[in-house]
Symmetry: C2
Subunit: 157 residues, 2 copies
């Protein structure tokens, strides 16, 4: 199983491609797309969609995995993130991929075994669990890898 | 100028295609896509994206126009609508269309001249302003036509 995982956003889009090979989860790719803060939101959403299209074409994943969003005080940001999320889900479904969605707590449990782990603990476990995890990266990139780990953990037979 | 206008949603997607021909605004198409409430949200978003793709291919609009969203109490619905909105904006930008966004008040002003008009007043004016407006339709369809009228009003030379 090959999963394309996202920490969704229009400002930063964390991306990871993880494949289960025998008993190991291998990181084939991870990155963080950053879009220009001075650009209009529709232009930034276009970049997000183009990146997702490219990734689906390049890695032909079986499924995508994406973090759920909840609404905090900054509704403007939340609307933007939800819009980016919609694009990712549409492009995935359009390419015939399954769509898995996980909440922050589910991800923490899958990666660290504890639903209230802090960011440092999640990153530490990501590095231990995944062959090829980057030594240094933006949080969004580690978050995407964590989402991918969660999807593989939930789909283990 | 030909504009493809939306009242965005994943449950109901109001759509209108309006073209300015000389001094008249002509309705080329309007409809309301309804998706199955029993379907999963990703599947409903796929239907929305497929409909938008089809409309852009069929009508080759210069621009799309879409109502802005704001957040009320039902954040779950709002997230879904924002996701549908993201898909529409991405597909439009990807096809080279301009994207115009209008708030509810701007739309009311453009259609009725008054920012606090009620729904009935908006529908009444839609029928008077547009050649080919339907006699009866769902509110979402009239709302989409009103969004299209707003875009043409804002882009009159």
């Amino acid at each position: 199983m090959k999963v394309l995982a996202f920490d969704p956003g229009y400002d930063r889009l964390g991306v990871a491609v993880i494949e289960r090979q025998y008993t190991k989860d291998i990181l084939l790719h991870s990155s963080c797309l950053e879009t220009d803060k001075k650009s209009e939101l529709p232009d930034r959403l276009l970049l997000v969609g183009n990146e997702v299209t490219k990734l689906i074409e390049e890695y032909t994943p079986d499924a995508i995995a994406i973090e759920t969003i909840f609404f905090n005080k900054n509704t403007k940001t939340a609307i933007g993130v939800a819009q980016a999320r919609g694009i990712i889900i549409f492009l995935a479904k359009n390419a015939g991929c399954k769509v898995y969605e996980y909440g922050p707590q589910e991800i923490k449990v899958a990666v660290t075994g504890y639903g209230k782990s802090d960011k440092a603990a999640v990153i530490d476990m990501v590095k231990r669990l995944i062959v090829g995890a980057p030594e240094e990266a933006l949080d969004d990139e580690y978050d995407a890898i964590a989402v991918g780990i969660t999807a593989l953990a939930h789909n283990r037979k």
